[in-house]
């Protein structure tokens, strides 16, 4: 019997996938979108750009941390029994193969496709026409030259600091009257756009060239008394994982400010160069930068493909891009009444970006001016620049409300931005708190305390995504607005805890990480397993970004063996194996990659017919469950529950954008033969438009001008 298997069997390392390799699989799925001929060309460019920026981040954080472990002599194998050194041995060649694939797609598919559609990317400055040459030379003299800082290296001048992720041109130069070769370097200025438009003499053709080509062409102007023997672009990546010992940092804020500056000084973990780079130059560069051969990445094409996101944003070409989607209003909300009155009547379910993020902004901005509101509390993890929420919080503080904002300084790569907001908010009189030592605050919660006729009333927004109005147009997230007393009390307790007060004795509704959330999730999974064991139907559907927590995965295997049907919708990393006989036959895993970034976390449990739905901020990863403050909350309102369940159902029915995890660990798209073509994201867009339209129409029907009938009789 499968369910009699001991835990030992489930813990076998072959049952799990290394998370870095699973992540690389994920980036391959995005690359798959870039290769997909059914997708519009400019969207494909965008996806290719995303794979590049993803890979950058992967290197800076994951590869860097593996290298740190190797340096520190840390040898503990991961869940799939791979030591850090072994992982690097696999990852580096795989990444190189991946990058090959990226550039093949770029050179062979996308560049010709763009040219066919009237956009010519000139890959080498040697290919410029005479007119274009004159144009770029002139552009170089006027606009580029003044901002360049060429630096030659000799005995008295050491090799300069090369900034992380910056694009540079390295050159070998020789004094005109000597034989001595020196190395020189110049940064491709980040203040200038990378894409340079050049005049075209072809009818209906737009031609562009990359900035580094323009500089390369004019490089001799930088070293007037020298002869430039060769010049090639290169780019480096440094170790950027930010590890702070919070117990020792007396002032967290200052410590992080210092770390940001230090980040540029980290060890070089990747050197990207053109395939055709001069051997002597490469040798010189790798010596100066202390890079060994495995970490040199020769590239057949322009370095740093992240410029593709800019390219995909070029104006025009509308027929080559997806039509722009406008987030729809929420039918349950009107603009006539205060948002609090409406929330008090009924919980409001939000599904972004299909539905607008506006109610969340309204929630805070109406609170800021509502005379009955006493206090506003909110967590901020990543905020947009010019965030309307930050502005509303500042206004609220100026209006005398008690505003408490938890700004998470440790949000990766956003530290600088967050420190700025923190300072700005403090100036307006908000209480800014920085969370708990050792725990990143990842939960997304805001609380409004209002004085009402019959007592203090609390209003809460809980969500799966950040309070960021810009990303809310791209990330798919869910949330609820509720006036539930028990959730309100819990919300207060969450903020009390974040303010450094003792934790509450118990929670009404919320499951909070680090202490309670993991057990709640495990209990929910086990409850289904118990039901399955006694022959009751049992079903779990869970949607998230990543799954790699060992305890949770083991519980899922156990549940699968007990007969629970488990459908997982996991966008990114998944260390669990699906559909393996005797281990996970009842588990399916699918990943949806689409125009919007899948980001919501939803958990459905059949619970013997008393279905329960939870949403939250946490992925099922050890870092989320053990090292962060996260919240999982139940969706209790009947309609809200139905909407959440509908999201899961439609995603499970997706046949166009879903990749299915195979027992061997690879992902494959469905064979469409005989199946209805369904794209979940498109379905949600269509439904949101329809619902908003229906509501608008029914409102218009309601509007009737009422004749005054009573006045006459009164007279």
């Amino acid at each position: 019997m499968a369910d009699k298997k001991g835990n030992k069997e489930l813990k076998k390392t072959s049952n799990y996938v290394n998370r870095e390799l699973s992540w690389l699989e994920f980036n391959y799925r995005i690359l798959g979108e870039a290769k997909d001929k059914t997708i519009r060309p400019f969207e494909r460019i965008k996806f290719l750009g995303i794979t590049a920026s993803n890979l950058d981040e992967f290197f800076m954080v994951r590869v860097a941390s593996l290298m740190d472990m190797v340096h520190a002599g840390y040898n503990k194998p991961d869940i799939a029994d791979m030591t850090p050194a072994q992982q690097l041995e696999e990852i580096i060649p795989m990444t190189k193969a991946f990058m090959n694939s990226q550039y093949t797609t770029y050179n062979r598919s996308l560049l010709p496709l763009l040219e066919k559609n009237g956009l010519h990317v000139i890959t080498h400055h040697e290919d410029l026409t005479e007119e274009q040459q004159n144009y770029v030379d002139d552009f170089f003299d006027k606009d580029v030259y003044p901002v360049l800082t060429p630096m030659a290296v000799d005995a008295s001048r050491p090799f300069p600091l090369i900034r992380n992720k910056s694009l540079n041109i390295g050159a070998l130069i020789r004094k005109k009257d000597s034989n001595e070769v020196e190395i020189a370097t110049v940064q491709v200025p980040s203040v200038l756009p990378r894409i340079v438009h050049v005049p075209s003499n072809q009818e209906g053709m737009e031609e562009v060239i990359l900035l580094e080509q323009v500089i390369e062409k004019n490089i001799s102007k930088l070293f007037l008394n020298y002869e430039v023997t060769c010049a090639h672009p290169y780019r480096i990546m440094r170790n950027a994982d930010l590890t702070i010992d919070e117990d020792e940092a007396a002032d967290l804020l200052k410590e992080i400010e210092k770390q940001i500056k230090q980040r540029q000084w980290g060890e070089v973990i990747r050197l990207e160069v053109e395939e055709s780079i001069d051997k002597a130059l490469l040798k010189e560069l790798s010596q100066q930068l202390h890079v060994d051969k495995t970490n040199i990445f020769p590239i057949n094409g322009p370095l740093d493909l992240t410029f593709l996101s800019k390219l995909s944003g070029l104006s025009g070409y509308d027929h080559l891009k997806n039509p722009k989607y406008t987030p729809q209003p929420i039918p349950e909300l009107n603009h006539d009444e205060s948002i609090f009155e409406q929330i008090k009547r009924k919980d409001i379910f939000l599904h972004h970006p299909y539905q607008t993020f506006d109610p969340v902004v309204q929630f805070i901005s109406q609170a800021a001016v509502d005379p009955n509101v006493l206090a506003i509390k909110q967590t901020l993890y990543r905020v947009s620049s010019n965030s309307p929420i930050v502005a509303a919080l500042a206004l609220a503080a100026e209006n005398g409300k008690q505003v408490t904002v938890l700004v998470e300084l440790k949000a990766r790569f956003d530290e600088e931005n967050n420190i700025n907001w923190a300072k700005k908010l403090e100036k307006t009189g908000c209480h800014v708190i920085y969370g708990l030592v050792g725990l990143k605050t990842h939960s997304k919660i805001s609380l409004v305390v209002r004085r009402e006729e019959d007592g203090i009333k609390r209003y809460v927004h809980l969500g799966t995504g950040n309070y960021n109005d810009v990303t809310a147009r791209i990330y798919t997230d869910t949330g609820i607005l509720t006036a539930s007393d028990s959730i309100g009390e819990d919300a207060t307790a969450v903020f009390n805890m974040l303010s450094g007060y003792s934790e509450p004795a118990s929670w009404n509704k919320l499951a909070v990480a680090p202490i309670w959330l993991k057990n709640t999730v495990l209990d929910l999974i086990r409850r289904e397993a118990e039901n399955a064991k006694v022959g009751k139907p049992a079903h779990i559907i869970a949607k998230m970004n990543s799954l790699c927590d060992p305890a949770v995965m083991e519980a899922l295997y156990e549940a699968s063996n007990a007969g629970v049907k488990i459908d997982l919708i996991i966008r990114g990393i998944c260390c669990l194996r699906a559909g393996v006989p005797g281990l996970s036959e009842n588990i399916t895993v699918r990943s949806i990659v689409g125009d919007f970034l899948e980001h919501a976390r939803i958990l459905y449990c059949y619970n013997d017919g008393f279905e329960e739905i939870y949403m939250g901020s946490a992925d099922w990863m050890p870092r989320n469950l053990d090292k962060r403050v996260e919240i999982m909350f139940p969706v209790e309102d009947k309609d809200a529950k139905a909407q959440a369940k509908h999201i899961l159902d439609v995603q499970l029915a997706d046949t166009l954008k879903a990749y299915i995890l195979q027992p061997d660990g690879t992902y494959e798209k469905l064979d469409l033969r005989g199946k209805e073509k369904i794209s979940a994201q498109e379905t949600f867009c269509r439904e949101a438009v329809e619902r908003a339209k229906k509501e608008k129409e029914s409102n218009q029907e309601k509007r009737v001008f009422e004749p005054i009938t009573n006045t006459l009789s009164k007279n």
Binding site: T404, I456, N496, S502
Partner: protein, 511 residues
Amino acid sequence: MAYQMFAAIDVGSNDISMKIFEVTAKWGSKEVDCVSHILELGSDTYRLGYVSNEKINELCNCLNKFKDKMKEYGCKEYRAYATSAIREASNSLMIIELIELRTGIQVKILSNSEHRFMMLKGCASTMEEFDEITGRNTALLDMGAGSIQISLFEKQLLTATQNIKIGSIRVRDMMSGIESRVTNGEEVIEEYVQNELGTFNTMYLGDKKIKNVIAIGDEIQALQKLAPELKIQKLMTKDQIDYLYNKILNVSPQDMASKYGIPFERATLIRPAIIVYRILVETTKADEIFLHDITLCDGIVADYMDTERKYTVGRKYEQDIIASATAMAKRYKSNRPHVSYVSEVALAIFDAMKKQHGMNRRQRLQLEIACILHDCGKFINMQNVANNSYNIIMSTEMVGLSHKEREEIANAVRYNTLYLPAYQQVKDSLGDASYTTVAKLAAILRVANALDRSHKQKVEKFSMQIKDKKLVISVDTVHNITLEAALFKEKADFFEQIYGIRPVLKQRRNV
């Protein structure tokens, strides 16, 4: 608006906490927020004798945060109290002063009996079954940091209360001292606790059977968390206590903190608490302990509502104070008919003189207690009754009374029979007591006492009337009251000195 926001602040020995309440005349109080900050002021005081600057700073920072929290609810009304950690600190007055300077919050130091009485109020006002449980003989155990307080209830009324210095921090610190020297630290401590409780047992319980034990205090939450398998809610059986006792012997505070989510400082206090619970249950032979998880903050709001008198309060707490004074008088074999007669007369005088004496409800209560206890000193010796009574009252704790109030009662009893010297001569011996209050109480007590000099309650009916600077006491009796009348004159002189009104005795023989 029909409700008011109220903040109850407890500057305790283990932590500082605040609860915010919505208070309505009709529905009572509703907790809307609760915050606490662990700060062991107690360990400073019990070890060093004073509270260190470091802790005072942390305390002030925390109170300033509390002020922000009050603003979050638009809450302006508050009461802030400090208990033994500050009370027993040598720098207590400076701490209170510093707190006010730095935070603007006025903290009042509670005497032990006031503190315990507030706990009792909190318990009675929040525990639904309180009256039902205390209908049978009940011991209420209030576990504090420095000491425990055991209060006994008979027929719903408080009859006795005793403070024993075996609080959780004190026992813990004692244990850590002992454990470094011997291996069976638990047993030594148990013996100690057993001995303390045994004394209490012989003194107060005698052959009375205690049926119920109610436990209140900070340790209860931790207990519930420690054994989730027992699903302890409101009731803990003897077996469960034994189970918990065995469990804590094997689980270190570190484990309690990591496995059960109990804050470490709290975890260290569970062992002493369970030892006390276990021995108390054995001593009293109760089968189970009712657990009621309240904090002083609940007591503060109950006390606020009771003393502000704006709100409906179910329980008459003064009855508890009177009942415990009566039980005390009984223990010292006071003549019961005499005592209650004197009380009746004294209160009648008090009520008739309301406009003239300018005293309040609280002082009426003091008068009543003074009457109840006025001759308890006879228990020791027929000679020198006044001083004996004074000493008994001064060394017996009475729940619900401040130290000052008790000192006034004791002095009123002393000067019931002794000559009251002039203020200058007597002020040093009065302590906290107010001279005028003592004099006023003694004056009424003397007159009332005179009316029953023979201890025979000869006068069955009486009435009081104020007329032309005279208090006419008309008595209906067929008995000969020569003894009473003779003594009355002397007492009346003193009364007149104090109030400017002369009591006059008028006998009617209408019967």
